[in-house]
């Protein structure tokens, strides 16, 4: 499903959470990155027909979010950042209930519930009460409910938060598989999660500061990632002057990965940028621009 966002602004009272955002997502898997409070959840809630935009236009698969919300909802799977279920129901019952609400045809209902339970690896817990689930299990159940009804659009807000590494990989693969036939919109803080996305957007303080592919994002840090090795005594000076991406201690020396437009130290080695480096570069760039514009 194609998503068109044009000049979307969302105000919470005086506070502008989204500021004239425009996005065009044609399909596949699309990732939203951004620091806390950037507006990712706000954008996703608007797309999921939960929030009304203050201004601007949002169309999903040709349906307007404002006037044709029900057509969108019929095609939507949504997993919020924070959610829960009625603790007294068993997982299977709960999903059956949801399947009816999502208009899954009666004949496919049972099979589909079982299928999504299998996909999130919860089949064995199907007859357990949801109230007894661990955080990760509940998260997986949340994913399962979003998958019910074979949605054409899947919006998942930080879906991998709280999952153990094995489940995270499992889920990532699941999304990749799904994105072959549906549009998947995913927000996350874990950069590794978006490596398989066809497209990415980085939000910062309600603005889109980057749109492109993962490799393009990584490229934003091209010629700006360095590896340095300094003794402990000098480390605080380095840390103060440069953005540190990663560090490692080896017998009294600190080996670090730095972000810097020019070679920071004489013996600094240029490195090929990773996705994470690009993300940090984009955010920093934006922050710097803003500081300049204030000045």
């Amino acid at each position: 499903m194609e998503i068109i966002v044009e000049n979307l602004t969302k105000d919470y009272g005086q506070f502008r959470a989204l500021d004239h955002i425009s996005l065009h997502i044609t399909g596949g898997m699309f990732g939203l990155l951004g620091p806390n409070g950037a507006g990712k959840t706000t954008l996703m809630r608007i797309l999921a027909t939960l929030l009304l935009p203050t201004s601007g236009r949002v169309e999903i698969g040709g349906f307007d979010v404002l006037r044709q919300g029900s057509s969108i909802r019929q095609r939507l799977g949504y997993l919020p950042q924070e959610f829960g279920f009625y603790p007294g129901l068993k997982a299977f019952e709960l999903l059956e209930y949801i399947a009816i609400l999502k208009n899954v045809p009666p004949k496919q209902r049972k099979a589909q519930v079982e299928a999504v339970l299998a996909e999130v690896n919860l089949l064995e817990q199907a007859q357990r009460k949801v109230g007894t689930f661990s955080g990760g299990m509940r998260q997986r159940l949340g994913i399962a409910q979003a998958l019910l009804g074979n949605p054409e659009l899947l919006i998942v807000d930080e879906p991998t938060a709280g999952l153990d590494p094995e489940e995270r990989i499992r889920f990532r693969n699941l999304l990749v598989g799904l994105s072959k036939r549906s549009t998947v919109l995913l927000s996350t803080h874990i950069v590794a999660d978006v490596e398989f996305c066809n497209g990415l957007a980085v939000l910062e303080q309600g603005k889109v500061v980057f749109i492109g592919s993962p490799s393009e994002l990584a490229n934003r840090a091209r010629h700006a990632v360095w590896q340095v090795k300094v003794p402990m005594e000098q480390w605080s000076e380095v840390e103060r002057r440069y953005t540190v991406l990663a560090t490692q201690m080896t017998n009294g020396m600190v080996q670090a990965r730095l972000l810097a437009s020019d070679r920071p130290l004489a013996d600094a080695q240029p490195l090929s940028p990773r996705l994470e480096d690009g993300y940090v570069a984009v955010i920093q760039n934006h922050q710097k621009q803003r500081e300049e514009s204030y000045a």
């Binding site: 939960l50 909802r73 949504y78 919020p80 959610f83 829960g84 129901l89 009816i100 609400l101 208009n103």
Partner: protein
């Protein structure tokens, strides 16, 4: 589409019902609920099953379920939010049907609270009464619960409720619980706001809803309208929130609901205006009454029960010192006189009669009057419009006060009695209604007695007349069992007391256990030979009950031997009243100790020792009884009634001596 919507409704209903009822609190609530009703009513309220459902038990049920309903609705509405499921749920392709299903689940959960009161009522019996009452109860309670539930949903859906919200709701509940009842004395139509039906009882044991006319229908229509309104309101809120548009169905429903509620409300309130208009008639006759009616022969023809026809022959006595050509009687204005042997002019509440031949002083003449009309007199009582007097194919209730037969009364005595007269009442073409009166039946549909000063005629399919020893029991079929017990009590008391009033010439006692008071006179004088007791069903508390029986019988017998009795309220108590009180006190002791003089005296002394003022009048009577037995007391009673004027003048402290002097004369 519709089918899918229905299955969403159903699944939402089923799930919510499970979540509500499979909580441990719910069965606990039922246990408490059942215990409450058991504690309050079993063995303590002897109304019939239907009466319980229509009054005490029913009202309590509806009132409390309304309160429980507010909280249940709150629990249900806030559930998704509490468990953070709302965010997910709202992205599903659903509409009002989900909220509708949940509303329905709360409704059913609440309806299940009707089981306990129904069981209590069934236990009380009789079964026929329960069967008759159950559908109306379910409908009334169901409507109230539906409305309260929808109202709570509408209010709580609009605002996300917090703890204060519940407090406010509870306060509103309390205001509606108490407010309308408190207002009803100043502004009776306020009873319309009494959605929990506190004090709004459309029920009579004898006539069911008949005496409330169409008022219950308007009341219920009003609430049906409001219920629809709230339902539509819910729809509208959901539509705006979820679809950002107004729902056409909701708007349509709101229009219909407003019309229904407006219509029902206006008609209900209109009923009060009509009733108070009827009651505004101020009766004044500015001339003294020169005649007395010494005999009545009334024939009531019910060939057309809606417009009964009366044929009345009056024996009119001229009390004036002059020849009488013209006099005025009172007759209800709804009747039109169709025929008479004298010239008649009907003017409002009065008919002027012109005799063709003047009536000499002390002379009597027969006046024939025929009249007809539909009689229905409404009154406002406890915030409800009820009919006190009516003739209807389904029942009759006539009290003297509405002048359904001509009365020779003046301004000063427009009340409920007339001068005692010979009275005969025939009902012709009775459509098959069991019928009874406060005067003895002398044949089928025929009542007659001497010395009749008021006539109370009742007829209803639910009426039962039964002879139990010397007591004629007249009661509603549902009250037959407790009525019989009362009749036995009265019969026993009558036998014990009559020997003290040998001149009363008692032939039997008429006991009307009807539970309706509208239009009845405060004091119900007996006809010749027949004490009349008109009472409600009672809750037995043996002591007070037995002395109540003694007092009511004694006062009628006192009257029948020609004694005077006056309402002791608002006037100084005289030795005459004291004398009567002493007699009642004596009779009570006599009955408790089966006439054993020693025991009576001991009991009397015990009572005195317990710190009460020594009743010297009673002591005097006891002493005389010890010496002279029943005849001695009978003589004193007789003398008391003869010499009432003397007793009224007598100082209190002289009364014991007076009693003793009479007792020793013999």
């Amino acid at each position: 589409m519709l089918k899918a919507m229905f299955s969403r409704f159903l699944v939402s209903f089923r799930t919510e019902l499970r979540l509500l009822t499979l909580n441990w609190l719910y069965p606990l609530l039922h246990v408490l609920w059942g215990a409450l009703f058991f504690q309050l009513f079993i063995g303590k309220d002897n109304r019939s099953a239907q009466a319980l459902l229509e009054t005490t038990v029913g009202r309590l049920t509806i009132g409390l379920i309304s309160l429980i309903g507010l909280f249940m609705a709150g629990v249900s509405i806030s559930r998704s939010k509490r468990f953070q499921f709302q965010e997910i749920e709202e992205t599903y392709p659903t509409g009002f049907e989900v909220i509708g299903g949940r509303w329905m689940a709360v409704f059913v959960t609440l309806i299940l609270f009707l089981i306990e009161p129904l069981v209590i009522a069934a236990y009380q019996g009789p079964l026929t009464s329960w069967v008759e009452g159950v559908s109306v109860f379910l409908f009334d309670a169901g409507l109230t619960i539906a409305f309260v539930n929808a109202l709570a949903w509408m209010l709580l859906l609009r605002r996300n409720i917090d703890r204060w919200g519940y407090l406010i709701l509870a306060a509103v509940w309390l205001a509606f619980l108490l407010g309308p009842s408190m207002l009803s004395s100043h502004f009776p139509p306020a009873s319309l706001l009494n959605f929990m039906r506190q004090g709004v009882s459309f029920y009579s044991d004898v006539w069911g809803r008949l005496i409330y006319g169409t008022q219950p229908i308007w009341f219920n229509l009003f609430y049906f309208g409001l219920f629809l309104f709230c339902l539509a309101g819910m729809m509208q809120i959901v539509s705006v929130r979820r679809f950002h548009s107004t729902s056409k169905i909701a708007i349509g429903l709101i229009v219909i609901a407003s019309i229904l509620a407006g219509w029902g409300g206006t008609r209900y309130v209109g009923g009060f205006q009509k009733a108070s208009f009827q009651n505004r008639n101020e009766l004044t006759l500015n001339e003294p009454v020169h005649v007395r009616i010494t005999g009545y022969q009334v024939v009531m023809d019910l060939a057309n029960p809606r417009i009964p026809h009366f044929h009345v022959v009056l024996e009119v006595l001229n009390l004036w010192e002059n020849n009488l050509e013209q006099f005025t009687l009172r007759l209800n204005p709804v009747f039109s006189v169709t025929r008479s042997n004298v010239e008649v002019k009907h003017d409002g509440d009065w008919i002027d009669l012109h005799l063709s031949r003047p009536l000499a002083p002390g002379e009597s003449t027969l006046v024939i009057l025929e009249y007809e009309g539909a009689l229905r007199v409404e009154n406002i009582s406890d915030g409800v419009v009820e009919t006190t007097d009516f003739i209807d194919p389904q029942g009759i209730r006539l009290t003297t006060g509405v002048a359904w037969y001509p009365l020779a009364v003046s301004n000063g005595q427009l009340a409920d009695h007339h001068e005692p007269a010979r009275f005969s009442l025939h009902i012709e073409n009775n459509p098959g209604l069991p019928v009874a009166a406060n005067i003895p039946a002398v044949g089928e549909n025929h009542f007659a007695a001497e010395q009749v000063s008021w006539v109370f005629l009742v007829a209803s399919p639910r009426l039962v007349v039964e002879q139990i020893d010397d007591v004629t029991l007249i009661t509603a079929s549902a009250d037959l069992q407790p009525g019989r017990e009362m009749a036995v009590d009265y019969s026993r008391a009558l036998r014990a007391i009559v020997p003290f009033f040998p001149n009363a010439n008692v032939k039997g006692l008429i006991l009307m256990v009807l539970g309706e008071e509208g239009g009845l006179p405060a004091y119900t004088p007996p006809a010749e030979g027949y004490p009349v007791i008109v009472t409600q069903r009672y809750v037995k508390t043996p002591n007070t009950w037995q002395s109540f029986i003694t007092r009511t019988i004694a006062s009628d017998l006192w009257f029948m031997i020609g004694g005077r009795l006056e309402d002791t309220y608002n006037r100084p108590v005289t030795s005459l009243d004291q004398a009567f009180e002493a007699v009642v006190g004596f009779l009570n002791l006599y009955r408790t100790e089966q006439g054993n003089a020693e025991k009576m005296l001991t009991r009397f002394q015990n009572i005195n020792e317990s710190g009460m003022v020594v009743n010297e009048n009673l002591q005097a009577l006891l002493e005389i009884y010890q010496q002279g037995g029943e005849p001695a007391i009978a003589t004193i009673v007789w003398e008391m009634t003869r010499k009432s004027a003397e007793l009224e003048e007598l100082p209190y402290d002289a009364l014991p001596a007076w009693i003793r002097s009479i007792g020793t004369i013999r």
